[in-house]
């Protein structure tokens, strides 16, 4: 069987994992006091290829979080479609994990309790909880912190708990909204490496938001670039072999190219 035939069989069975999630012409406007309607997403197209590491790059306020919220189903777009394997899908049909821009942990629950919260919400059978908590806390190197409270963890540790919480629901696609932007560079580099290991091992699809060009180039298979008018103005592939090194001159060069493109967008 060829790959194309396999894909057809898969979609006939209703199993569309392995197919690309295609967002087309997504439009979202917000009502802003004093400014009237503002267009935050202007006919945005986005392809989320299965198994890929995709970054969404853009300056602050351009609509990155809004787009993630559309994919996750937290906000309803004013227009546009989401398709996969040739048919319309809604966020409810997707298996998603979301790591928000802030850790968004429940401070009154232990680390393990926070993961349980998500498992309970997702109706995971209680018999599986302990095993999953252990497995995913270990994956983010927090095996010993299960009984600790988030208020006693550092910022980086909290972000790891948020990652473990998302992983524990065993999603196919992970949405990550600037998860490392509030961390110092040393911690962020460690976490990026861990994330790439997990992505490799668990064969996840990751849609990663950032405003850091270097981070996007280091992590991604391909990058979408947005401007402040809410337009997705470019998609660029990053064909640099993995594992990548921060001091790789190829990365620096690609970063410079992308920066130039951004700059030209702003000047226009």
């Amino acid at each position: 069987m060829t790959a194309a035939e396999e894909a057809t069989v898969a979609s006939e069975n209703g199993d569309e994992s392995g197919e690309t999630l295609e967002l087309r012409n997504i439009v979202k406007t917000f009502q802003k006091p004093g400014q009237g309607q503002i267009l935050v997403l202007d006919e945005v197209d986005l392809d989320v290829e299965a198994g890929a590491f995709i970054s969404l790059l853009g300056p602050s306020g351009c609509g990155k979080t809004t787009l993630m919220n559309v994919v996750s189903g937290l906000i309803e777009p004013d227009g546009g479609t989401m398709r996969r394997g040739g048919r319309d899908v809604s966020p409810d049909d997707l298996s998603l994990g979301y790591i928000f821009q802030e850790p968004r942990l429940l401070n009154w629950k232990t680390v393990a309790g926070n993961i349980e919260f998500a498992l309970e919400a997702r109706d995971v059978p209680e018999a599986e909880w302990d095993e999953r908590i252990e497995r995913y806390l270990e994956m983010v190197n927090l095996a010993d912190e299960g009984d600790n409270y988030p208020t006693r963890l550092s910022g980086g540790m909290k972000q790891r708990v948020a990652i473990a919480r998302a992983l524990a629901t065993e999603p196919e696609i992970m949405l990550m909204d600037e998860p490392f932007s509030s961390l110092d560079e040393i911690t962020a580099r460690d976490l990026r490496q861990e994330l790439l290991d997990i992505w490799n091992r668990e064969e996840k699809t990751i849609l990663f938001v950032t405003h850091d060009i270097n981070e996007a180039v280091f992590l991604s298979d391909y990058i979408y670039m947005m401007n402040t008018d809410g337009e997705m103005f470019a998609r660029r592939d990053i064909d640099i072999d993995r594992p990548r090194q921060y001091d790789d001159p190829d990365i620096a060069q690609r970063e410079a190219e992308l920066y130039k493109e951004f700059h030209e967008q702003v000047v226009d």
Binding site: F117, D123, R152
Partner: protein
């Protein structure tokens, strides 16, 4: 400050107060009930059958009953009111003025009007006291509901948490500090109103005892009843509220538990 020092300061403050009281009783016997006389009166109140052949705890119990029944009603009504105000802009703009107006009504007026409407019996107390304290609870919970974290609500929605789970795991823990603050202020206001009701309308309870011994000009016995109830309230605070508060707020970072700061 460590435990022992704190304990010493508490003891020192009590001793100072007693000394001042004693001195006051000696120099101004008309105004301040003497310390030894009050002690004797307290022993009498605690050990002998009171009016109507009842021991002191009958009256204390009646007061507690009325106070706590009112507190339960007010906590529920006030929380519902406050959360409704904090979560709905329509209700907030419709009702805010009236809540402030309600707060402005003197409690004495509420007590008297209740007596006229309902009569000189316990029912007017059960009506008037919740009516006085509910807006205070409402005001507190209003503030709490206004500060609910939308980000956490969004997180719960994303993971698909149901109503019950959202309420118990997201909403209640955020309201907990406000519930404690509300209960404390409701307790201290409520007890004063209960006393007022008992003194003016009823023939039992601590308030009635005040009135009775006021009529007899018996300052030391009035003082004894005050001491009994103040001690009770302190026991409630240190024996119930404070430990409970500490347990519920266990997750808060304490000086030693903090490992790393952000």
């Amino acid at each position: 400050m460590d435990r022992l020092t704190r304990y010493l300061y508490t003891v020192a403050s009590i001793v100072t107060l007693l000394a001042l009281w004693y001195a006051g009783g000696v120099t101004l016997p008309e105004v301040v009930p003497g310390l030894p006389e009050t002690y004797t009166a307290l022993v009498v109140v605690l050990t002998t059958p009171g009016p109507y052949d009842h021991m002191f705890y009958f009256h204390v119990w009646k007061t507690i009953q009325m106070l706590f029944a009112s507190l339960i009603v007010s906590m529920i009504a006030g929380t519902l009111l406050g959360v409704a105000l904090g979560r709905s802009e329509t209700l907030e703009s419709t009702l805010a003025t009236w809540v402030y107006a309600w707060l402005a009504i003197p409690s004495l007026v509420i007590v008297f009007v209740s007596a006229i409407w309902i009569g000189f019996d316990a029912s007017s107390g059960y009506f008037a006291i919740p009516l006085v304290i509910t807006p205070f609870v409402g005001l507190n919970m209003w503030e709490g509901a206004r500060n609910l974290d939308d980000d956490l609500a969004e997180m719960a929605e994303f993971f698909g948490a149901g109503r019950v789970q959202t309420f118990t795991d997201i909403i209640i823990p955020q309201l907990a500090p406000f519930l404690f603050a509300s209960f404390r202020s409701a307790l201290s206001i409520g007890w004063k109103i209960t006393l007022l009701v008992e003194a003016f309308l009823l023939t039992r309870g601590v308030g009635f005892m005040f009135r009775r011994y006021f009529d007899q000009y018996d300052l030391p016995t009035m003082m004894s009843w005050l001491i009994i109830f103040v001690v009770f309230l302190i026991v409630v605070e240190y024996g119930v509220l404070a430990p409970l508060h500490e347990r519920v707020m266990e997750w808060r970072p304490d000086a030693e538990g903090v490992r790393v700061t952000e």
